[in-house]
Amino acid sequence: MKSTAVLEVIKPGMLTTIQDLGRSGYQQYGIVVSGAMDKYAMRMANLLTGNEENAAVLEITLTGPVFTILEDCKIAITGGNLSPSADGKSIPLWTEIDLPKGTVLKFGPIIDGCRAYLAIRGGFDSPLLMGSRSTYLRAEIGGYKGRKLQKGDVLYTYDSPTEMKKGYRKSLHSELIPEYSNEIILRVIKGPQWDAFTPDSQEKFLASTYEISAHSDRMGYRLQGERLETNLTQEQITDPIPNGAIQIPSNGEPILLLADRQTTGGYPKIGVVVTVDLFKIAQGKPGDRISFEAIEIEESHLLLAEQESAFNLLSVSNR
């Protein structure tokens, strides 16, 4: 497929990587799923630019990058507000934007959230590896040369230069734009080892507030707060770990496992965050406070169906 050089990295930011919906189907081989941490924002960014939901985007973390635009293009930025600007002029989030060649696209101070998503019409060009273009940092494959972006990198899009449309901008209905808070309530399904925890720990888990520690990344978030204990007399045997699993290691403090988690692990899981709430933790940053609320699986499936019907409507209206 023909592709066009469209972005040059002037400053890479803290951790800017190419991601899509992830590399599923390979966990049986020990291959982590990767993919966007906040899939809601990532999919919306793609729909706003007229892409397939799974097109490769940039995931931008906390400290944003600076780019030079090498060719006229259409982009959308969603997720956390990292003060994006085009040639010094602030640009709106959750909106399609036309950027002419030569524009300096810059991210600034963080207003809310933790991760921004930059989609470009056509999607970013990156080799399809095991069905995904996501960066797999640990194995150093996928995305842009298997690593985070660096100064001087040039990114390509599958789109050919498009005509700039003046005055017309598609933006997302405000009801569909999430608000990010420093007080995060995560709904969970009780985990497969819930019964192994002491009644006291089960109660503490649902009643107390945890703080996101500085040791938090795409693999997992470490939480500080009440320590939890099990009645288990011997170590648990390693088993598979779903996205959003809350595992309790021997020090008793929860670790919430996310996009880059290992496929399997040996700690008991007290709960698993419901799919529709995963974006909230992806937008959480060190110092934010977390509390947990248990819901039933049927309720969680209803919430998911509701969210997905919004996506279906949007992708239909996109055609």
Binding site: G25, Q28, Y29, P192, T238, P240, N243, K269, H301
Partner: protein, 238 residues
């Protein structure tokens, strides 16, 4: 009941057998995995077998937890009769000792054996692959002879080269990628275990397979390394 099914979040069912590391139980896990694959259940998207459990990831918009659980529970894994149980045995050539196995001499001294005896003990077994995890293509093997069980390094190496064969406690294994690690390294294989460009089968070894280690010389190692698809150095981007 033969196994227990419970939710692991809203998109996965964890199926647990008796929680022991045993060949019998792991064989049931593998058999159930194969049965579910064959059944081609609509909405079941990914299967991940482990030592004594199996995770079935599903799309809740296509199938409910209860429907999936009922389908899975109707499968009988106690009868292996009609299932083909013969699985792949991989012969993994290993250059033991020297530069490839910096901890071989330690293990020999630790157990009052010669290096050759350690190699002989390590290479005589056929090891069952219980599961794949930790890093892409890393096989968790059972059946290491207790005469060479050896504790991990006190402080992990920053880099263990891809292909390294090591011992950690009661386990032995192979590093598919160059990664930091605390295993005692006794040798290295030229066979690539992780080939990310092979979409159909990106790893050499699967859960349920078996492995035998075949001792080779440094010269054989070098020529095998050249025969294989040029092996990427760990760390080089693809």
């Amino acid at each position: 009941m033969q196994f227990d099914c419970r939710p692991a979040g809203d998109c996965a069912v964890l199926i647990s057998f008796e929680q022991n590391v045993s060949e019998d139980i792991n064989e049931k896990v593998i058999r159930l995995t194969e049965c579910i694959q064959k059944a081609e259940i609509h909405g079941a998207v990914e299967l991940v077998p482990a030592f004594a459990s199996l995770m079935v990831y599903y799309n809740p918009l296509q199938i409910t937890f209860n429907e999936l659980r009922d389908l899975i529970q109707s499968i009988d894994v106690s009868e292996p009769s009609r299932m083909k149980v013969e699985r792949t045995v991989h012969e993994i050539p290993v250059w033991y000792g020297g530069e490839a196995g910096p901890d071989l001499s330690f293990i020999a001294e630790y157990h009052n054996l010669t290096e050759d005896e350690v190699i002989r003990i390590h290479a005589k077994e056929t090891y069952r692959v219980y599961m794949i995890g930790f890093v892409p293509g890393f096989p968790y093997l059972g059946g290491l002879d207790s005469r060479i069980h050896t504790p991990r390094l006190k402080s992990p190496r920053l880099q263990t080269p891809a292909g390294s064969v090591g011992i950690a406690g009661q386990q032995t294994g192979i590093y598919p990628l160059s990664t930091p690690g605390g295993w005692r390294i006794i040798g290295r294989t030229p066979v690539p275990l992780f080939r990310p460009e092979q979409t159909e089968r990106p790893v050499l070894i699967s859960a349920g397979d078996a492995i035998r280690f075949i001792p080779i010389t440094e010269e054989q190692y070098s020529s095998l390394l050249n025969e294989n698809t040029p092996q990427k150095k760990g760390g080089s981007p693809i």
